[in-house]
Each structure stands twice: as C-alpha cells, then as structure tokens.
C-alpha cells in the first residue's frame, strides 16, 4: 500500500513511440495535418524519408508506407511548409536538404509523395554545394533560405524556383540558418561569438513568440546559450544542466519563456526563462529520460502539447 515517490514511476505509458528499422535524424511536424516526416540516418547512399500519422485519440504513431520515398544520403533537415503556404491541391509541401534542396508534395489522400522540384544554387556547374540546413520563412512562405558548406546562404523563391539572393557572410561552413526578417539583406552583424575559439555554433533557433530572442548550441558543449539580438555578444542566459553535449533545441510554440533541449545524456529538459536568474544559474522545470542520446527535438505549433524526440531508431512523442 505504501507508494514510492512519484518521480520513480515510469512515465513511458504517456509517450507515443514509433520504432523505425533504421536510425533517425531529421524530423518535421506538418502544420495542417497530424503528420510527421522522419528522415533516416544511414551512412550510405540509400536513405528514406517516412511519413507517420499521429492519432491523439488512440495515442499511436503509424507509418504511411505509400508516402515513403527515397533520398540520396541522409537528409540534413526536413521541414514542412509553414501554415501560411496553402497548396491548391490541399496537400503538404515538404522540403529536404542534402545534396540539393528538394521539394516534395505529400498528398492529402495519402496516395503518394511526388517530387516537385530540385533546387540547385550553383551558377557555375550543375553540382551544388551540399546543404547543412535550411529554414522556411513563416511570414512570406514562398521564401526559403538554405545554408551550405561553401560558406554561403541562399534565399530561394520556391514558387518560381529561382534564387533571390546569395549571402556571403561567413568565413567557414555555415551550419544552420533561421530566418525572420528578409527586408534588410545587406547588413549582417556578428551576434555572438563562441567563447572558446574554434568552437563552432552548431544549431540555432529563433523564439517565434519573442523575436529578439534566439538560442544556440556549441560543439561539444552542454550549454544552451540564449541571446538577445539587442545586446549582441553578451548572452542573456546560459543553461547548463545537461550532463552531456546538447544536440537539439526547440522553443515552445506558444510561450515566449519556455524552451526544450535534448542531448547526449539522453535527457530532454524543459526550461522556463526567468526574468532574473538565480545565483546558481537556471534550473530546468522538468526532465524526461530517453533510452539513449537524443539527437533531434521538435516542438510544433500544430501539436503544442507534444514534443517529438528522436533517439537511436525511435521517434517518440512526449506529452508536455
């Protein structure tokens, strides 16, 4: 009759899991339907992108085999089009980055996923510099920005499939890109430089609720660095409670103060950013322990009560 402390009870009954035959990395939530795209991570040419369907009533994640398609080498990022982009056919538009930027149409009636276009940003040859990441502009959904190992970032107009601008602002390979305002493409400011030299910033994320705020993670670091673009070079906060390097970050879609991070310590931490930090730093609100290192984390506005994580061969939806 005596019960143990609540924390030690397994919470896995509340998480919805999908077991994939291969390790997963890229992941994206659709904004219109309850669909999730996952990309495989196999170190050979043949990789796949699978589309899963999430049913919150039955708490299940089912793959839709008719919508699975091939991709050369692992996709470095997957992203569904933002809600402001409505396709005439009613289906979803999914973009993947790898050797090129490819657009796929995922049909409403789950019949098939068709490639729409392949975008190559190299003017000189037919080979494009491989892309490390990209981001879709929420405000103007026809615009999409990619970043590449050749130090450039390219802004595309996906409706006309042409390049709008190319930005050359970095000295080395660009790892991630997040777009908000494309009005002023001329200026770039160094917002943050990592404290140790030669420590690249690997991923970054804008806070969609408070657009002055962004978060970034460094190579081999267990810190999540929160920046305010109004005070460049000085981080607003450094969240340092992971026991391993941080691999992925996602802001809460409906709160400007909450962010979730996942790392090599197999933990996903939810943080609330206070207005004043305590003397010992900021502690997270809550934690989830996965089975192995968490490689991907997504928190979508279409499913604000769920956080998606990818670790090993599994993709899990955790209820917040």
């Amino acid at each position: 009759m005596d019960n143990s402390a609540p924390d030690s009870l397994p919470r896995s009954e509340t998480a919805v899991t999908y077991d994939s035959p291969y390790p997963l990395y890229a992941m994206s939530f659709s904004s219109s339907t309850h669909r999730i795209a996952v990309g495989s991570f196999l170190e050979d040419y043949n990789n796949r992108i699978d589309i899963l369907s999430f049913d919150s009533d039955s708490m299940s994640l089912k793959p839709l085999p008719s919508l699975s398609f091939e991709h050369p080498y692992p996709p470095t990022k997957l992203m569904f089009s933002p809600p402001s982009l409505r396709r005439s056919s009613g289906g979803d538009l999914l973009a993947s980055s790898g050797d090129f930027l490819r657009l796929w149409e995922v049909n409403e009636d789950s019949s098939s996923a068709e490639p729409v276009s392949v975008l190559n940003n190299s003017k000189t040859s037919e080979f494009c510099a491989p892309l490390t990441s990209f981001d879709w502009n929420d405000v103007e959904p026809k615009r999409l920005g990619t970043c590449s190992i050749d130090t450039t970032c390219t802004i595309w107009d996906v409706e006309r499939s042409v390049v709008e601008t190319q930005l050359i602002a970095h000295d080395k390979e660009v790892h991630d890109i997040a777009i908000f305002d494309l009005r002023d493409k001329e200026h770039s400011t160094i917002i943050y430089e990592s404290p140790q030299p030669d420590t690249p910033l690997l991923r970054l994320a804008w806070n969609k609720q408070d657009l002055r705020c962004m978060a970034t993670i460094l190579m081999d670091s267990n810190k999540v660095v929160i920046l305010d673009i109004r005070s460049p070079t000085m981080p607003v906060a450094e969240l340092e409670r992971h026991q391993g390097s941080v691999n992925a970050i996602a802001w809460a879609p409906q709160s400007c103060k909450h962010i979730c991070s996942g790392g090599d310590d197999a933990q996903a931490l939810i943080w609330e950013l206070p207005t004043m930090a305590g003397p010992n730093g900021i502690d997270p609100l809550s934690v989830y322990s996965a089975g192995s290192e968490i490689n991907q984390l997504q928190w979508s506005a279409s499913l604000p009560d769920w956080i998606g994580i990818a670790f090993a061969n599994k993709m899990q939806l955790l209820r917040v």
Partner: protein
C-alpha cells in the same frame, strides 16, 4: 489499493474531540489503512463538515522535532497534526507564511495521499449528496471499491484521489465488515474505522452500541498514475505554462466544483512553487516529464565537459549530419569546390567589404545624412556636391568683383578663405588665396608638421587665384580645426611677404 468505505452512524456518541481523535487513530493504525476522517453534521448548515481525522499513510518528507526513536503511531499522529497546520497556513494566506516553524511542512513535502488528506479538510457534504452524505442519509454503510473508476458525481473527491485496485484486499476488508455486526466491540475497537456523526443535543455515551452502523470513511488513495482518463480529461495543468494557471483553472471549474476552487485558491496564493509540485506529486496531467530535482546537480558537478567530450562521441549524429554527411555527396565535385569557388567567394567578399568601407567614409564626409543605407548616402552626396558647386559658382562670381575691389583697396584685405573640417581621422581642407610659387609645398609641409598626412590634393589656378581642396588623415595627435586654420593663414600671410 483502494477502497472507500462509508458507513453511516446514527448512533450518538458523546465523545470528546480528543477521544474521537484517539479512536480514529487507533482504528486506522490497526488495520493499516491510510487515513480516517470524522465528518460531523453542522446543524445550522445541514452539512457534514470535516471534524477530525488521522493520517497514517505514506510520508514524503519527514519534518519533526522529536528524536528518531518514536513509534509509528506517534509519528503518524504528529504527521496528522502537521498536515492540519499546513492546511491552516495555506488557507490563512500569505501573511502567515513567515511565522511558520522550521519544522512546518510545505507543499512539496507531501505525497499524494497526504495531499488528498489535506484537501479533505475543505470538503463539505450536504446529505444526501456526496458519499458521506449518502451514507448519512441512508443510515447504511457504503463500500466503494474501485474508487478510481467512479464517476465524479458519485464520488466528488475522486478527482483528487488516484486509486488502484487490489483484489485480495477488497475481499479481506469485505469479510471484515460482514463479520462486523456480530462482533462485540469496545470503543477503542481495533477493527473499526469510525466516522461518527454526532448530534449535538444528545449526549449519550453508549460504547457498547457503537458497533451498530457507524459511518466510516476509509480511504487510502495511492498515487500510481494509472488514473482515470475520463475524469482527468478536463483537468489540465501544464507545468510549462505556469503563466497560464488562470486559464487552466477555468477548465477545472466545470468539473468538481469544490476541488477546483480549493486548488485554484491555493494556486493563486502560491503560484509557482505549488504548481510545479502539484504536477509532480499529483500527476493529474499525464505528462511524460517529471519534475527537476536539485540532486541532479551533484552529478552534474562531477561532469567535466572537456574530458568527456573529447574522449567520447559527443554529439555524434549532429556532427555527422553537419560535418560529414554533406561531403558524402559525390566526392569529385567537392574537390573542385574548395579551390575555385572558394577563392571566388573570398574575392567577392573582399570587394564587398571595400565597398562598405567606402560608403561609410562617404557618409562621414557629407554633413546632412539622414538615413544610413547606401541609397540614401549616395543621394545625399549628390545633393551636397551640387550644393557645393553652386556655392563655388556663386562665390567665384561674387568674388570676382570684390576681388577686384579688394585689390584696388589694398593689400590689407585679401579674399582668402580657409575651411577646415576634421571628422574622426579624416581631414578636409578647402582654401583659396592668392597664388605664389611654393605655396602648395608650404601648405603640405605645415600640415605634416601638424601631424596630418595628406592623401589627396585638388588644386586650380586661375589668374593668380589659387584654390585647393586637400584631403588628409590624422596621424597621431589630432590637431584642432583652429590650429590648422591658424597655420594655413600664417602661410598665406607669410607668402605674401
């Protein structure tokens, strides 16, 4: 396990409160259930109110002033007392917070059953509604098994009790009560849980008849988190949205009025600490996340990032995706990239940097720049140049006459003019005066003596009229505009001699 048993008592027991307390305690401890509560009828309001209770269940954080060696019973009664005090302080509001003793409990010290027990304080039942009310009205005992599956309307405290069944225990207790009417018992019965009603105008002490239908409230909620989805579907506290507690409270109001009001009052007065704990200790929301504990920090302090990261495969997949995977794509084309295209890229970037620099210089030279973008800079510069050339025209034309006049007047008055402007380290010198051989050289020399390095010279010579526009950079100590003007004037004056 969980059962609730409510057995009505119409028998009057005129026991004192302390006795009741003692009875409750004995009763609950003997059978080993979690708590017992005595509901007393308040005649004015015709309601059953919490009168006395004893908690004997799981404890989370023990806070006691007594030495370690206490019996379980004493510990339990002290705990009950502490729970009572906690309830009182919580509902007394924040003003009383400071006065609490160091051994006073705070919300995060409670397990779920304790929390349920505390919340029972707030309940009142108007017969025949509610479980105790029904038992009272019917004068029969009510045995509620599987309290977790009961509709909220029948058992309105189900929402705060998370329960789970255990078959054997149910049977055991059932057998208990089947045997119960037969047994002859004393007041300090060990078998019975007493939840007595007392009618105030009766004052009998009939101990031996206590065995007849008593109202008993038994309960021992557990907090395994297999709780009733239906009941909880409307109840949603999000730990992550502590800002929105008000919104969530609105959802609560529909379901289980008293409970929700209680919780919302509590939460209003202590928003953050209570909220985050109520999620962890009560788990009403089926969150996959559990609350953060500070113990984790100890392990963290042993973590050394440098060693671990370097040796182990930190961020393996992320690094691979960013750094290795892109190069998996056709190797031949990648070998080309670094040489040709990167050079081009670098050259392009340098050109752009130069352009930007020049734009900034231009902006600093033009006096009335309104906006900082390139288009405006160019536009303003064009205007300024036009203005200047117009001015030059005017000055030249007007100077022709006064020039002649002046020359006629005498050499005391000259028409020379010197304009100096120094912005940051850029110097602009405009002058006109009468020409003499060696004038320009003297000017440049004196500028050098002032620490000004000439970079560009534009001169014009018409009819002994010398005009010069000199651009320069300051090297070392910056001279004042006055100093430069004085020096130039000196030269002109000396040159005339």
């Amino acid at each position: 396990m969980d059962e609730l048993s409510i057995i009505p008592l119409w028998k009057v027991i005129g026991a004192e409160k302390k006795e009741i307390q003692g009875l409750l305690k004995a009763v609950v401890q003997s059978v080993g259930w979690t708590y017992s509560v005595f509901w007393q009828l308040c005649p004015q309001r015709r309601k059953l109110l919490w009168s006395s209770g004893n908690y004997n269940g799981a404890i989370k954080t023990r806070k006691t002033t007594q030495p370690a060696e206490v019996t379980a019973e004493e510990a339990a009664s002290e705990r009950s007392q502490q729970l009572m005090e906690l309830y009182e302080t919580l509902f007394a509001g924040e003003s009383s917070m400071e006065a609490r003793a160091c051994t006073a409990l705070s919300p995060e010290d409670l397990t779920d059953p304790e929390w349920f027990y505390v919340l029972c304080f707030t309940y009142s039942f108007e017969p025949p509604s509610g479980m105790p009310g029904k038992a009272y009205a019917r004068r029969k005992h009510i045995w509620l098994s599987g309290a977790n599956e009961v509709d909220n309307k029948i058992f309105s405290r189900a929402i705060s009790a998370k329960v789970k069944e255990s078959e054997e225990f149910v049977d055991h207790i059932k057998s208990f009560f089947h045997n119960y009417p037969k047994s002859n018992t004393k007041p300090t019965l060990s078998e019975h849980f007493i939840n007595e009603e007392r009618e105030e105008d009766e004052d009998e002490v009939e101990e031996e008849e206590m065995t007849m239908s008593e109202e008993i409230r038994l309960g021992s909620p557990d907090d395994d988190d297999v709780s009733n989805q239906n009941l909880l579907s409307d109840f949603h506290i999000e730990a992550t949205n502590s800002l929105d507690t008000h919104m969530d409270m609105m959802n609560l109001m529909e379901e289980g009025g008293n409970y929700s009001q209680t919780v919302s009052t509590l939460l209003m007065s202590q928003p953050t600490s209570l909220l985050s704990d109520s999620v962890s200790t009560s788990s009403y929301v089926q969150s996959s996340f559990i609350s953060w504990r500070v113990e984790n920090v100890k392990e963290h302090q042993q973590y050394q990032r440098v060693e671990k990261a370097a040796s182990s495969s930190s961020q393996w997949m992320l690094k691979h995706i960013i750094l290795k995977v892109p190069f998996l794509h056709d190797n031949t084309k990648n070998k080309r990239l670094p040489r040709e295209e990167l050079n081009h890229v670098v050259a392009e970037r340098r050109r752009r940097e130069k352009l930007n620099e020049r734009f900034i210089t231009l902006r600093s030279l033009v006096p009335f720049v309104t906006k900082m973008d390139k288009v405006s800079i160019l536009g303003d510069t064009i205007e300024y140049v036009n203005h200047l050339s117009k001015r030059i025209h005017e000055l030249e034309s007007t100077h022709h006459e006064p020039n002649q006049k002046r020359m006629r007047i005498g050499k005391g008055r000259t028409w020379e003019e010197v304009e100096v402007s120094i912005i940051e380290s850029d110097v602009l010198l405009e002058m006109r005066c009468e020409y003499r051989d060696g004038l320009l050289l003297n000017i440049l020399q004196v500028l050098k003596e002032l620490g000004i390095e000439t970079t560009a010279v534009h001169t014009a010579l018409n009819d002994h009229h010398f005009e010069a526009e000199i651009r320069a950079k300051v090297r070392g100590k910056k001279p004042t505009i006055a100093e430069v003007k004085i020096a130039i004037h000196q030269i002109i004056y000396n040159n005339k001699l």
